[in-house]
């Protein structure tokens, strides 16, 4: 899949340490990313799509309501997220520890998304109403790509799996949060986009303030 040029996050000026002009950074980062993950094994998207669909269908047999189904997908994702953090911190971050909120959000928005889904997330925005909310959105979330939701499953969102991954990364990096997946309609488009809503716990914000 060609590496689609991702537009820069609109809502929040994600702090890029070393370069004045954001689009310029994107190019460097892609080249860097290519080298870092070169020789990384790949599998076909359909192999993952078929596997993920079995995960969904198996869990459907284990639950009797949609909320429980989403919770089980989130648990599965959580385990993936915890391990992804370990893997990526060692490989991508080398010897730098993430201590700031923007740092970990940017890490998820770009590094985690690139390694898992092959592209930077479409956008990372700060919630307007609440201080502690951030939204990481994707026009066509990989796990939802082949899935059409029958009416009787209401607002069921397989993105709960990805929400679990994000929660696994955040909790284990010391930024505990409640993470949920939502469909957000996009005008003029048949398919809604998927937004991963991150709501940090009180203590994270206090620490962030203390660090100034």
């Amino acid at each position: 899949m060609g590496f689609r040029e991702s537009h820069f996050p609109s809502g929040l000026e994600v702090h890029k340490r070393n370069s004045p002009c954001p689009t310029f950074t994107i190019h460097i980062e892609i080249a860097l990313w290519e080298t870092l993950s070169k020789g990384k094994q790949k599998v076909s998207l359909s192999a993952f799509a078929f596997l993920f669909s079995e995960l969904v269908q198996y869990n459907q047999t284990q639950v009797d309501n949609i909320a429980e189904l989403e919770r089980r997908l989130e648990d599965a994702g959580y385990a993936v997220g915890a391990r992804v953090l370990e893997l990526l911190c060692h490989r991508e971050k080398g010897n730098r520890r993430e201590t700031r909120l923007l740092g970990i959000l940017s890490f998820i928005h770009s590094t985690v998304w690139k390694v898992l889904f092959g592209k930077v997330a479409d956008s990372l925005e700060k919630g307007t109403e609440h201080e502690d909310e951030y939204m990481n959105s994707e026009k066509e979330l990989l796990v939802n790509r082949f899935i059409s939701i029958p009416k009787d499953m209401g607002a069921f969102n397989c993105g709960a799996f990805v929400a679990g991954i994000v929660k696994g990364v955040l909790d284990n990096a010391g930024f505990p949060a409640v993470v949920t997946a939502h469909f957000v309609p996009v005008d003029g488009q048949q398919r809604p986009r998927t937004t991963i809503l991150i709501k940090f716990v009180e203590e994270v914000l206090l620490r962030e303030a203390r660090l100034g």
């Binding site: 799509a49 082949f146 059409s148 029958p150 469909f183 398919r191 809604p192």
Partner: protein, 169 residues
């Protein structure tokens, strides 16, 4: 909220799409004779119920395949008439033409059969049927909430097929 198909198609085939499309109708069957999809674009004459119509079409192809294999002058194996064959066994018949229509047929080793009835002048449609097979794989087979062997009820798939067939020369 309605996404990516999943609407209930009324039992009777939908009204034919805009004219100027020289395809009459499309059938997709699986190896057990279940009609996964029937699309119609212009078919003024209707004599049979849709269920019988599907059965007739499947029966026609089943025997045609056996007949063409039986009379294959080049093959050495002695296939006898009516004996069930493996999909892909014997020579592969892919279309026949009358003065009023042309029937193009494709069968995959997994027993999926795609039949497209078009205007007699249309060119070789083997690649087009393969493209429709790819649409079937992308839009239907990969959707985890579709159970194989049941009629296809995905609006997006129907739209994609309609659009593609309209463009066929």
């Amino acid at each position: 909220m309605q996404f990516f198909g999943g609407s209930e198609i009324s039992p009777s085939p939908p009204a034919p799409a805009a004219s100027g499309n020289n395809a009459h109708m499309l059938y997709i069957f699986n190896r057990n004779g279940v009609c996964l999809l029937y699309r119609e674009w212009n078919r003024p004459l209707k004599t049979l119920s849709s269920q019988q119509d599907h059965k007739l079409m499947f029966g026609l192809l089943f025997s045609l395949k056996s007949l063409t294999a039986k009379m294959d002058p080049t093959s050495v194996e002695k296939g006898n008439l009516g004996v069930p064959q493996l999909p892909g066994q014997g020579c592969s018949f892919h279309s026949f033409r009358t003065n009023t229509y042309k029937l193009s047929f494709m069968e995959t080793p997994s027993g999926i059969k795609i039949i497209l009835v078009t205007h007699p002048r249309t060119s070789d449609l083997r690649d087009s049927l393969k493209y429709i097979y790819n649409l079937y794989v992308e839009y239907v087979v990969k959707n985890p909430l579709y159970s194989p062997g049941t009629p296809i009820r995905y609006e997006l798939f129907n739209k994609a097929v309609d659009q593609y067939v309209r463009g066929l020369g």
